[in-house]
């Protein structure tokens, strides 16, 4: 504890850097994967192609991707943009499948009803399909969030500092306390993000509040297990 107090400025600096590095991939990953997920769900062929590409993308290990990106897109290796792009790619790879499954789970009867009372395609998507897919999307986004916060630490290996800095520094100085600070800090940030997402979900989707664990949407459960398939 003493170490944290005396080094608080450094801990908070890297903690904040960690938070700032984590936000763009989560937000961008969500925004990018909604239209791609829609296309994937729309046609049988595109579903197979898009989900296969997403699976391959997700299979690429993070550290090699961090080091490969600079020569692919012409950035310098110490540019945080490399880590941001790599993490966004993983977020999209994970979210596209969730989005496709979430949209597929919206009942055809509901969609037809919406069209029947005069909803156009856009209004039907944003007013009916997206809200109904919301709980599944939230479940996927929570997985993306935890995963992203944890992965940001690997960026420290190539010099993009976050709480992961304390792992490397702690190892070099043979000082486990510092490593613990990095681990606990990372878990706390992941937890805080998760709580925020759940609260955001309750605020945006008030109809899910009364729903207990027992009445959980089948599609939520299936989308969470889908990555194993």
């Amino acid at each position: 504890m003493n170490w944290v107090v005396t080094n608080w400025s450094q801990v908070s600096e890297y903690g904040l850097a960690h938070i700032w590095l984590s936000i763009p991939p989560i937000v961008l990953g969500f925004l990018i994967s909604v239209p791609i997920g829609w296309v994937a769900n729309r046609y049988r062929l595109s579903r197979g192609v898009v989900l296969t590409i997403a699976g391959i993308l997700y299979a690429i290990p993070s550290l090699p991707l961090f080091t490969l990106l600079p020569s692919l897109i012409g950035t310098r290796i110490l540019d945080p943009i490399n880590v941001e792009i790599a993490l966004t790619l993983y977020a999209v790879a994970l979210m596209v499948r969730t989005t496709a499954d979430a949209l597929a789970a919206v009942s055809d009867d509901v969609k037809l009803s919406a069209s029947a009372i005069g909803f156009g395609l856009w209004r039907r998507f944003f007013g009916v399909e997206l809200p109904l897919a919301g709980p599944v999307l939230l479940a996927g986004l929570r997985v993306v969030s935890v995963s992203t916060v944890s992965l940001v630490t690997v960026g420290s290996v190539i010099g993009i500092n976050s709480l992961g800095f304390f792992f490397l520094d702690g190892y070099q100085r043979a000082f486990p306390t510092e490593v613990w600070v990095g681990i606990i800090g990372t878990v706390l940030i992941a937890l805080a993000f998760d709580v925020l997402l759940v609260l955001l979900g309750r605020w945006l989707m008030p109809w899910t509040r009364r729903q207990g664990g027992a009445t959980r949407n089948l599609a939520v459960v299936q989308s969470e297990t889908a990555v194993l398939r």
Partner: protein, 246 residues
Amino acid sequence: MNSYSDAFAWLVDPVHWAGPSGIPQRLLEHLGYTGLTLVIAIVIALPVGLYIGHTGRGREIVVPFTGALRALPTLGLVILLALGLGIGILPPLIALVILALPPIIAGAYSGLESVDREVVDAARSVGFTGSGVLWQVEVPLALPLIVGGIRSACLQVIATWTVAAFLPLGGLGRFLYDALPNQDYAQLLAGSILVIVLALLADGLFAIVQRLVTPRGVTAGRTADIRTKTQSPPRKDPSWLAPEKA
């Protein structure tokens, strides 16, 4: 781009294909570490997953524990164990086995749970015993998902051994860590390409195995069509089931 021709020149240079720090040796080390980790993890995790899936018991203990693992940063766990247990292969091996357990357990028990209850009941009614139901009905039908869990674990292990080469170890990660301080971009790029190719090959291999072990007429290994809701929903929230990224 120039760096790519440099990387390929590096890859085909015979100097890098010989000796204890050559590509074949590093590749063998990486495969050896990965294989060892997977075997130990499977020996521990598979019985646990099968027990949970078959009996429905023990989920309350195992699920939250493995769920918490997801938030743990891999690199931190590896380094913490290395500091606690000293140098050598044992500390990262323990850390990686721990990280490989959740997807295998999840694949096994969610695989068994995906088996239609009516099929299990039918097997019982024609006289199958408990172990008969498990080995002749549940496991064969769940194999695609069981293999899927091992596939996730394998990818995670390949990736994490790359990062773990931060410690004085062999494996393909060495090329990255040796190149970083010297700003040897050709080697950095070549090492990255080697790891990525290895990961994609392993993933492809498991994809084929998953197809092969899928019994005819079973869709458990393919993309589920959620529009046809035939399964009974699993009992609890398995949000941690998506494999951890490393």
